[in-house]
Symmetry: D4
């Protein structure tokens, strides 16, 4: 009774319901994912999952996998299509968890994903050196904490959609990510938009949705 699975979501939105494990008991999370896996229609994804969720699920679904950087549980079902190219750009080492959540999500939903990490604006040449990789991607995800200036800089260099993911990395005036979130929203460069703080999942999901358009 506690959960009503949104059964026709695959039809309506192109991907089954993704389970957000925070705030659920490990038992609840594992149970919902087991049920989705049993239907076998598409890949199953559980985000913000502890290892405990994974251990519980594994008993029911032996081919479940755990990604401990992205803190995600995955069950691969059906064929793994691989479209176009999503580039995930991250500012610093501390932003990796969020970046990997985005990369895993987009890839699981069918996108070919590339990564460009530790290219914060403090050393701009590291980024400029990679201009080609920036310009050949079809969609970009920029993950940055501190003041989040990387989004504006990247968006100014390409002519493709850029999705900004502010992270809670930083302290004091960084306000747990509110500062880069506000900064990304007021970016002086058009062509970008923003998802919630630390929301690697949302960025990867949207990046794949946009990438898919390029295939049609």
């Amino acid at each position: 009774g506690f959960a009503q699975i949104d059964h026709d979501r695959t039809a309506r939105r192109g991907f089954a319901e993704v389970v957000y494990c925070e705030g659920k008991t490990p038992e609840q999370s594992a149970l919902i994912m087991a049920r989705l896996a049993a239907r076998g229609e598409s890949n199953v994804l559980g985000t913000r999952a502890t290892r405990e969720v994974f251990e519980l699920l594994k008993k029911e679904v032996p081919d479940a996998e755990y990604d401990d950087v992205a803190r995600a549980v995955v069950v691969r079902r059906g064929e793994q299509a691989s479209l176009g190219s999503v580039l995930v750009v991250a500012a610093g080492t501390s932003d990796l968890r969020v970046a990997e959540e985005a990369a895993l999500t987009a890839s699981l939903m069918g996108s070919h994903v590339e990564r460009l990490y530790d290219v914060g604006v403090a050393g701009l040449h590291r980024l400029l050196r990679q201009l080609d990789r920036l310009r050949t991607a079809r969609v970009l995800v920029v993950v940055a904490g501190m003041e989040g200036a990387l989004l504006s800089v990247v968006a100014g260099l390409v002519d493709k959609p850029v999705i900004g993911v502010p992270t809670s990395v930083g302290y004091g005036a960084q306000l747990q990510g509110l500062t880069p979130m506000l900064g990304m929203l007021t970016s002086c460069v058009p062509g970008s938009s923003v998802v919630n703080i630390d929301n690697g999942f949302g960025a990867g999901y949207l990046a794949n949705m946009i990438n898919r358009l390029g295939e049609a």
Copy 2:
């Protein structure tokens, strides 16, 4: 000396610099647009422009046009391509200025634009009645003030990218648009992202960028 036009922006980003007229004197705005128009490479757009800016520009550029709902000045140059379909959805009559800024921008940059206005969630059937139009668009822009719930509702019904534009329409706890902005960022539906409050321009620009991908 006061303005350095970003000359290779058309090459780099696919569209010339757009002039944001707020905070500039009318003379400055008109002068920059006249210079851009003289280069004749692509359409010229000035946002948040008063009628005074337009009158000044018209003296130099007789084919300049003024859209007083969107508060924008436009000079059409080169051919007007028309790709795919961007759907601009607006919650209420008070959101029209922002919605029209989005529609004008996307259309000027080459997209075919459709409009679906006054379909706020207070009367959900008005929206549900238009499910077909929602589902045939390639990209959607949702413009909403008050609590901005329309973004979640629309995003839950389609499998295409949805760009949310919170507006400053409302009072009190609406906080000049911060409330729908925060709400849209924490939407329980993936597949959407957010631009700045009242930023119809940014939404239209990004919608066109995404729409263009669908043509390639």
Copy 3:
């Protein structure tokens, strides 16, 4: 000396003082509830109670009960009237604790309570399918985290009072519940009002008060 029980509250407000256990020592909470139970006039309710509070109370009041989803201690006294119908609607599995606090409170105070859970706006058809249940309730309580859009959607479908309870479920821009709280307060649909974040108790109490009016 530390607590002055508000002795004529049952007369004045129709229900004895409810004990809010957070910020009190378990001993203080148990002692106050034991005293209220001893007077035996009406049901006793302790909210935000740990199991420890319950264990202490049970020694004095053997028929005390503990509800560990709602985190509440209850002592049933007098007859359990059952009036009209309060419908508690919850958006997601993570909102259950708050929803159950509301349901328990209203029920304990004399209302017949129904539940409709996991019907967030991401999959609107789950809600629309239940239109009859929504429309036969006399008062509705809508419990939602994230952006809280469910309140507007539900209020737009019924012609009865709807009480919104924002929850702290979410992260980042959700601001521990401030975002749905602000959103619910600026809802574009009239007929609703809002209680404090995670305040299931307050919503259940008010729902019962309103429900009671329908009996008179």
Copy 4:
């Protein structure tokens, strides 16, 4: 095209769409109200209306009325039922505009409305003197600016639902009404709930909805 009237709202919600005039041109506001009046099904209400809106409407609808304390335009249609009793309590002279908006709305929708004004907590005896009137009302609306303490005080004295309307009256730390809004939401007295700052309309609408239950 700019406005889609929600035609079956009277059926669905018991009252026709109310026009919020702020952010619309006077012409738009008058036009929508004229159309609603022409259908003649129920009373028509336009809130936050300037006298200019009224003058425009009067040309089309001669029996339109203007209430300049409440800043509202009204067209009375059908019989004026008068149910139960809603009591509007206001703290100070400066809160009158909002209080009158609430009173007018509830009355127009069919409730008998009483008023108790200028009874702020600075002189508590003014309120205590009226205990009888407080206790005979079926629903209460408490309108207060400054710190909004009046809501808690009133709610503690009655056993009926109390709707709090924080107002933007005050300065500095009053934060344009955020302070009483937050205070009302965290009131230590259960049985109350809150609507948006200065939202007399929403409070009156909800008060009437609750009052109506008492008639059934």
Copy 5:
């Protein structure tokens, strides 16, 4: 070297430096207090002190005392004068720690202190019953969490200075005490002023300072 005791503070301000133990190591706190006690000029007070600080100090200063409600360490030195009367009023059981910090501080500095606890506005008669005690005090300290309405109510009943101490007791919109702090600052009743959230010490210190004036 890490701390410079403000040696002439007793002369300048009438009381030796009070040690705020939070953020210092227990060793640092105990050492500073031991040094102050050794000078023997006036009472020594350490606030926000853990039991560990006390245990360390006791080794050096055997007559040190610990008050575990107020979380304070005290060394009584010189005679304990007792002036006029400070009344500490507290809204609920959860506010006791702060109220006791205020009472201890004022008393240690020479004031006769009375207490009136658990008289929150939810049951106003509890307070009104004590009008005599309220009116015979020379200075009042009102300690309240939630929305802090008690300050306005008390200040409206007396003609003496009232010091408000907002507490962090509450949740959600209570914002860890910001809400009653803002509410107390915008109180509609003159004659009161406010100290920092949970700052029982500051309130007791100031109450004593004012009380002392009444003796001169």
Copy 6:
């Protein structure tokens, strides 16, 4: 009907109700003050009054006076007692309006008032030069905008109660007075308390109340 004068306030609180003119029509303000003056029991004070209020009042009460720095209307009734000494200290020229509101209020209520203006901490010697005047006052009011550091500095130099009045003077991060308000509340010097931003009236009222204690 719109205003209920709090008739026994003089008895209960030692001074008649003071009229806060902001948010009232000039007619309402003048009418209330005329009625208070007619009763002739004590001085009448109207704060935040425009000259228009004064002109209206003067027609009825020819001895009314207007202070246009303090923006206050005054009617002197009964004898003008003069007790002890309140010192109003102001940081800069821009803080004068608020400082004069405080000075006028305290003086009208019976206190002898002294002024020490333009002694901001940027030039500390200006303040230190006046140490004697600081130390002979019985109560001090410190009025300061910008960061409000003056309160801490003054409070550290005296052993009397100091009332801080943050002003809205400044820009940007000054946040219309929130910054000095927060700073004054977290002052590292005990012995001070704070009233609302720009609330010279409240500070003067309280200063007089405290000063009066020194006479008893």
Copy 7:
């Protein structure tokens, strides 16, 4: 009496008091500046001055000058030394008023000032093209609105102190400059610090102070 000029400020701080004209009457501002000019010790500067202030001053001090971009009044006195080099970098045309306030202040205090305007990160090549000018300056002032990313980018390219001035240019989530202010404070690049929003004066003053060190 209303203003105490800080007479030895030139000795103590190296420059006479600068008059901040906002919040003073034009007469007050002009009077203070006339007095400072009469002493003739150093240049006189009045910031945020209207033309009216200038006209009044000119009557007394005929060689006063007005800069209407920087909104400043200047009286040049003594010799105009010219040290090292301060580079003022501005992001957009709308930031010019603040940039010019900084440039004027630093120059008036003795620094040689260079300008680099309209080099926002949207077109990074405009900035990179000027790397030599960036690297030969001794101190840099970066003036930027929107998200303020320019500070991080510039600071990452040089090894000299960089002072960030966030401006209130932008809308919505830009929060009147709070967003770039917070962003600049959390910049991922060390070597920079921040002054108040729109505080060109403070930046110019500090830049000159640092520049002067390079001469010693």
Copy 8:
């Protein structure tokens, strides 16, 4: 792959990349520092490092040192130049961790550092007594929590650049350091600027950069 060391930072900025250890695993932090040490070009600094990071690093780099007040790991390489004089001023004992982070950073980068601790404005004479030390420094760093008034006071006494570091020391309205941060930004004394809350590293880095200018 997870970290790209910014190899030419020593050339470009005068000091190698400093490792911010928070948010990295101890292994990541130690690895990056070991690599930097291996290059042997300049001193290596790791901030916000736990003892665990140090233990790991020590295995690879035996001459690594740990400063547990400043929570920093240091590897000294090359000669330790010692320029001019940076004075670190701290308000209270609780601010030491941040002050020591600043002192260590500036010193490691080549500056001679002096310390002046526990001189908060509550006892101003402690500071005034040290006027000579304040005035002989070339750059000052002021570290203060609570309301941060110390920055204004110090800046008003010297004619050298002063860098303010707000700390998170305090509670309630101190808002984890936001209050002194905002206060320092709106300081009424020019000549100062601000870095992020608790950012001793940034202040020390900038102080050294400015100090270095004085040598040239």
